[in-house]
Point group: C2
Chain length 430, copies 2
C-alpha cells in the first residue's frame, strides 16, 4: 500500500476552505484515481477556531505559516495566502529549501518570482505547481504545458478577471453606468471593497505574465506588461460597441514575434460573433494559438471556492501520481529572455469616442488631424444632434501604429471643441 | 543523458505524416521540454515509397503492422491505422503483450475495446493513451483525466464531428439544402466519398463513448449509444431554428444520474446566445460539468494533420516524462458498470416540423393529439399560406418525456393531412 501524500495548507480563506472540503468529500474517489490517499496533516491560518466545515482536530496547527514549511511530516506545501512577497514568498522558498513540493494559487507570486522559485524547486527535484493561479478551475496551465506540449505558441490571449468581465457584461445587459454596476458587484461579492486590483487590470496582468512565461518558455518581467483597466469604459462605449457589432472585454494579450514579446492588458473590442465574445459574467477564457494545433480555447469559472479548489487538487493529484513536468514547460534554467515589444509598436485598429461641441467643421478638423498621422478612418458615427451642446462622436480606424494613434489623440484632445479626453479602445481581431 | 524514447508508427496517412513532420520539426524544442529525445525507429504503412515529407531512410520498415509490435527496439507503438477491429486491434494487443506502451488516435477501437486494452496495459505497467481519438488537438482527454481529476462529473457534452458541424454551419450561412452542402463538403475534403460514418453520427458516437468512459470512470457499451445523424436536417429546419433563436448542432450527450447513463448523439437545438452555439465550421467543442469546477468548455480543431499530430505527440511527451495516469481515470479493473438510460426516458423540450395540407382544422387536430399524450405546446409557427397545398408547420413543446413525444408523433404522422414523416429535433438546454 503506497503511503498517503501528506499536505500542509497555509491560508484557510475561501479557497483554503474549498480545498479542505474537496479533499474531504472526494477522498475515496481520489484515492481510486491516484492510487494513494491525499491527507491534510498540517494547516496554518490567522483564525484557528473559525468553522471551515471540516474537522481539523487531528491536524497539526501552525500559527506561523513559515513554520509549516519546516514540518518534517508533510510532502507538499499548499500556499493559499496570496501576495507576491511577504509571508507567501517566504513560505514557498522555505518549503522548497526543506524539500517540499509547492502548490500555489498565487498569481502575483508566480508573476514576479515564478522563474526563480521554479529553478530552486527543480534543482532539488521538486515540483512547483500553480494551476490555481490562472483562470480558476480551467485546466489551462496543464493544457498548455502538457496537452499542447507539441506546439510552439504564437499567442496566448485571455479574459482573465471575472470581476471585470462581470461588470462589462452587466453594463451591456442593463445599459447602466460603470460606477453603478461596480457598486452592485461589490454588494454581490463579485468585487472587493477595494476593487482596484481587479478593475485596474493588475490581477489580469499577473495571470497574463504567468501564462506568457509558460507558453513561450520565457522569463517574463512583470514590469513589461502594459496595464489598463476598465474604469473609463462608459455605458456610451458599451452601446456604441454593440451598434458597431462588437463587445467590450478586458483582454490579456501575449504575442510573440521576431521583434519580441507583446504583453498587454486593456479593454478590447471583439466581434460579437466571435467565440470569445460569448464568454460572459464571471467566466474566464484562454485562447492559445499553436503552430500545429492552431487555435484552442478553454472557458470556465475563473474564481470561487469550488473551481479554485479543483485546480489546487489537480496539482496534488499530479504530484501524488508522480507526474513531473518542468513548471514553465522547459527547465527553469533554460527559460529564454525575450525582449518586450513596447505598446507604441502595437499595430491594429482603434475605436475612439469624443465628446465634441456640435457645430459644423469639428469633424473635418478631427479627420484632418488623423490624416496628419496617416491614420485612416474606417467608420464614423454621430448620433443625436444637440446644436451648440456636447455630442458623442465615435470613430473606428483601419490598422495603424499605436504611436501614430497616440499623437493623433493628443492633438485631437487639444482642440477647443473636444470637451473631454478622447476615449480609445483597441479593436482586437477575434 | 537519458536515452531517447523510441517510437514505432503504424499508419502513415494524413495523421501519420503529420506526426512524422511534427517530430522532425520540433525535435529540439521537445527535447528541452521533456528532457529526452523522441525518435521514430520503425514505421509500417501500405505504401513504402510515398513521399511523406520526411526522410525515412534510417528507419526500420515493416510491411506487416503487427510485426512492428514485436520490434524489440521500440518503447511505444503509435497506432494510426483506424478501425475497431482488424489490424489496429491486433497491433495494439500485440504491442501491450510485448511490453510496449500504446498511443492511438483510434476512436472506434477505444470505444469498443478501450477498457480491455487499458486493463491489459495496466497489468503490465504500460500506458494506453488516446488523446488524439477525441476532438483532434483539443487536450480534452488529459483535461478530464488530470486537469479536472478532482471532480465527479454530471455530464459531458460535445460537438464531436467536424464534418457535421461544417455542413450545419454552411447550411445556416448560405441557406442551402443538405445534399448540396454535403456535395460541396466532399469536394473540399471535409467529408469522405462515403460520408455515412460522419453524417450518420457514428464517428461522434465513438468519441462520446470514449469521453463517457473516462468522465464517469465507467465501462461503456457502445451499443448503448443512441445515434441519429444529420441527414434529415433540412434548410427549413435551419431557418426555423434561427427564427426561434436557436442553432442546430450535432451533439454528443453523456449524462449520469441515479437512473444510470444517458448516451446519445443527435441533432440538437441550442440557444443562439450560448457559447456552444458559436462553435462553427470544422471546430469541435467539449463541455464537462464537474461538481467542484462547474462547467468547463474546450474548443478547437477536431481533425486535420496538425491538430491530431499535436495530440499524439502530447501523449508521447507524457510517456517520455514518465507521467502515468490510469487510461480511464481509475484502474481499468475498477471501472464501474452503470446501467444505460434508454432514449425513451429522455425528458426535455422538442421542435417538430410538419408538412401539412393548408386547411382549417389541421392544427386543431395536431394539438389534440399532443394533448392526448400530455405534451404541452410552447410555440407554434405557420409561415406562408398555400390554401390546399402543403405548408410547413413548426411547433416547440415544453419539457415532456420522449416516450410521450414518440407516441404523439406516431399519431400525427398517421393523419391524412400530414404529408411527410414529422421531423423532430430535440431542444437541449444550453
Amino acid at each position: 500500500m503506497i503511503p498517503p501524500v501528506r499536505v500542509g495548507i497555509a491560508g484557510l480563506g475561501t479557497v483554503g476552505a474549498g480545498v479542505l472540503k474537496l479533499l474531504h468529500d472526494q477522498a475515496d474517489l481520489r484515492a481510486e484515481r491516484c492510487g494513494r490517499r491525499i491527507v491534510v496533516s498540517a494547516v496554518s491560518a490567522r483564525e484557528r477556531n473559525k468553522d471551515r466545515g471540516v474537522d481539523l482536530s487531528t491536524v497539526r496547527w501552525y500559527q506561523d505559516a513559515a513554520a509549516l514549511a519546516s514540518d518534517p511530516d508533510i510532502d507538499i506545501v499548499v500556499e493559499l495566502i496570496g501576495g507576491s512577497d511577504g509571508i507567501a514568498r517566504t513560505l514557498c522558498e522555505a518549503a522548497i529549501a526543506n524539500g517540499r513540493h509547492v502548490v500555489t494559487a498565487n498569481k502575483a507570486l508566480i508573476a514576479h518570482h515564478g522563474a526563480e522559485l521554479a529553478r530552486a524547486a527543480e534543482e532539488r527535484g521538486l515540483t512547483l505547481a500553480y494551476e490555481a493561479a490562472v483562470a480558476g478551475g480551467i485546466p489551462v496551465i496543464k493544457g498548455i504545458r502538457e496537452g499542447l506540449a507539441a506546439n510552439r505558441f504564437a499567442s496566448v490571449v485571455g479574459i482573465l478577471n471575472g470581476t471585470c468581465n462581470y461588470i462589462l457584461s452587466e453594463m451591456r445587459e442593463t445599459g447602466r453606468e460603470f460606477a453603478e454596476v461596480l457598486a452592485e458587484a461589490q454588494k454581490l461579492g463579485y468585487a472587493e471593497a477595494d476593487p482596484s486590483f481587479d478593475i485596474d487590470g493588475v490581477d489580469a496582468a499577473h495571470k497574463l505574465a504567468v501564462l506568457a512565461g509558460l507558453a513561450f518558455n520565457a522569463q517574463v518581467d512583470f514590469a513589461d506588461v502594459h496595464i489598463e483597466g476598465i474604469r473609463h469604459v462608459s455605458a456610451l462605449d458599451i452601446g456604441f460597441a454593440d451598434e458597431l457589432g462588437f463587445r467590450i472585454k478586458l483582454l490579456g494579450i501575449a504575442r510573440r514575434s521576431d521583434a519580441g514579446l507583446e504583453l498587454r492588458v486593456h479593454p478590447s473590442m471583439v466581434r460579437r460573433s466571435s467565440p470569445i465574445a460569448s464568454v460572459e459574467g464571471v467566466f474566464n477564457a484562454v485562447i492559445a494559438q499553436g503552430d500545429f494545433v492552431d487555435r484552442v480555447m478553454m472557458v470556465g469559472r475563473g474564481a470561487g471556492a469550488g473551481p479554485t479548489a479543483s485546480a489546487v487538487v489537480a496539482d496534488l493529484v499530479d504530484i501524488a501520481r508522480g507526474c513531473r513536468a518542468p513548471s514553465f514547460g522547459v527547465p527553469a534554467a533554460r527559460l529564454s529572455t525575450v525582449p518586450a515589444v513596447p505598446m507604441r509598436s502595437r499595430h491594429g485598429a482603434y475605436y475612439v469616442r469624443l465628446m465634441v461641441v456640435d457645430r459644423p467643421g469639428v469633424i473635418a478638423d478631427v479627420a484632418a488631424l488623423l490624416r496628419d498621422q496617416s491614420v485612416s478612418l474606417e467608420s464614423f458615427l454621430q448620433r443625436g444632434r444637440s446644436p451648440g451642446d456636447a455630442v458623442p462622436v465615435v470613430m473606428t480606424t483601419h490598422e495603424t501604429e499605436e504611436a501614430a494613434m497616440t499623437r493623433a489623440l493628443q492633438a485631437i484632445g487639444d482642440m477647443d471643441a473636444v470637451l473631454e479626453p478622447p476615449r480609445m479602445i483597441r479593436i482586437e481581431p477575434f
